[in-house]
Amino acid sequence: MTGAIRDLGTRSTSLVEGLGRISNFGGALVASMLKPPSRFGFFVRALYDAGVLSVALVCLSGFTVGMVLGLQLYTTLARFGAEEGLGAVVGLSLIRELGPVLTGLLVTGRAGSAMTAEIGAMKATEQLDGLRMMAIDPIHFVAMPRAIALAISMPLLNALFITLSFAGAYAVGVSLQGLDGGVYLSGLENAVRFGEDVGQSLLKSCIFGILLGLIATYKGHTCAPDSAGVARATTSTVVTASVCILMADYMITALWGV
């Protein structure tokens, strides 16, 4: 019994310690942004890894999610004779919640895990220590361009996801089920507001991008320097970032107002 309680204590302190460490790392990361990246090319490459390589996945997923929503919502709405509502429902649900959250989770799996694995492998092969010995800050040299690339890619990928999902819902609702295209689009455009909906979507995806960038680089930098350590860190990035994204989504929705 006392063992279990002590265990609980150890777990809580290590959780708090971990929070402290990642905050310190985040502070160092932000401080390192004051100095521009050593080479612009690093940033372009990070943007390629985080953004371009995720485009296909995000677009395909977005289109598919749109198709599913179109099919499900159309048949349900049609039972009440409210098919015209398709555009509004699809638009609001995708822009406010599904777009940012699903994009966040997809990019976590696609780019966040790869980023942790790459930095972790660099740590395991002493590349980060090599930089430190050359008096080069690994956070500035390695983590910073990658974290920024993720934070920039996320809203762009989110916008792609949402746009493609609108197309997916259009394909099912209009092309297959025979809803009028104009009704769908005007429903969409009337229901969605810039400030509340698009703004919230952008804010969410930016925050998710920053969270993922922080977690992915932190896990890479702090992983145990062997292959098992890299594997653990990669898993941990996916798990931690996914949970953080879902919790942050709830908090932003609650704070912003539904």
Partner: protein, 223 residues
């Protein structure tokens, strides 16, 4: 047994649990990462597996410390890198990625990166491990040449007793409990069982030959 840890402590990469680390008058054990930078500017380190950045070419790898810490232009960096590379016996490898290099070449590129800013101290972690005899000799010669010509302090950790005895001014044997320091000559003359055991077949054979030739070891590294 703690060789790499020792080198990492000299470079400030790890902190000792107790005791002091003093490098060129700076005591390192309480310094923050940023405060260590000026000390590290004077230290070059050759990691066991090279620790080259694998997404960057040889030129970018060797050029990084110059780009970060000097105001040299790209062309000047290119020239300097070519000069350092040819001093380690490599030519026209600038545009290759580390994964395209063989083990010996990798080691020599890492070597070039460690010395490109002309440090005062060079730390080499197992520079001979996993290399063929030809490359061992080549690296040995490079180290001696640096020590002789540029007056670098070279700290080498090695399992390779013969080359250690050949090169060293000072040797420290790290054992399970404590260590023994001395010159190669002292080790050669020593009848301490632990020392002779440590020197092994290789070392003893080398020393025996040495005694036959009546020839002291050449100048090598010193601690």
């Amino acid at each position: 047994m703690g060789k790499s840890t020792l080198l990492r402590m000299i470079g400030g990469l790890q902190r000792p649990d107790s005791g002091a680390v003093v490098v060129a008058g700076h005591s390192l054990e309480k310094k923050t990462e940023k405060e260590l930078w000026p000390v590290r500017m004077g230290i070059g380190m050759l990691f066991q597996n090279g620790a080259l950045l694998d997404s960057m070419t040889v030129l970018e790898n060797i050029g990084s410390p110059l780009r970060e810490h000097t105001r040299m232009s790209s062309d000047e960096i290119r020239e300097r890198v070519a000069a350092v590379l040819s001093s380690v016996g490599l030519d026209n490898v600038e545009s290759l990625l580390p994964r395209h290099l063989s083990g010996g070449m990798l080691r020599r590129v890492a070597f070039a990166r460690a010395i490109v800013r002309e440090p005062d101290i060079l730390l080499c972690d197992e520079p001979f491990s996993g290399l063929d005899p030809l490359n061992v000799t080549r690296i040995e010669e490079l180290l001696m040449q640096l020590n002789r010509d540029l007056g670098l302090t070279v700290v080498v950790t090695s399992h390779h007793m013969a080359s250690s005895l050949r090169m060293a001014d000072q040797m420290i044997l790290l054992r399970n409990h404590g260590c023994t320091a001395g010159t190669p000559e002292a080790f050669a003359a020593s009848d301490d069982e632990q020392v002779t055991e440590f020197l092994g077949e290789d070392g003893r054979a080398y020393l025996a030959r040495l005694r036959e030739l009546q020839n002291g070891p050449t100048t090598g590294s010193r601690v």
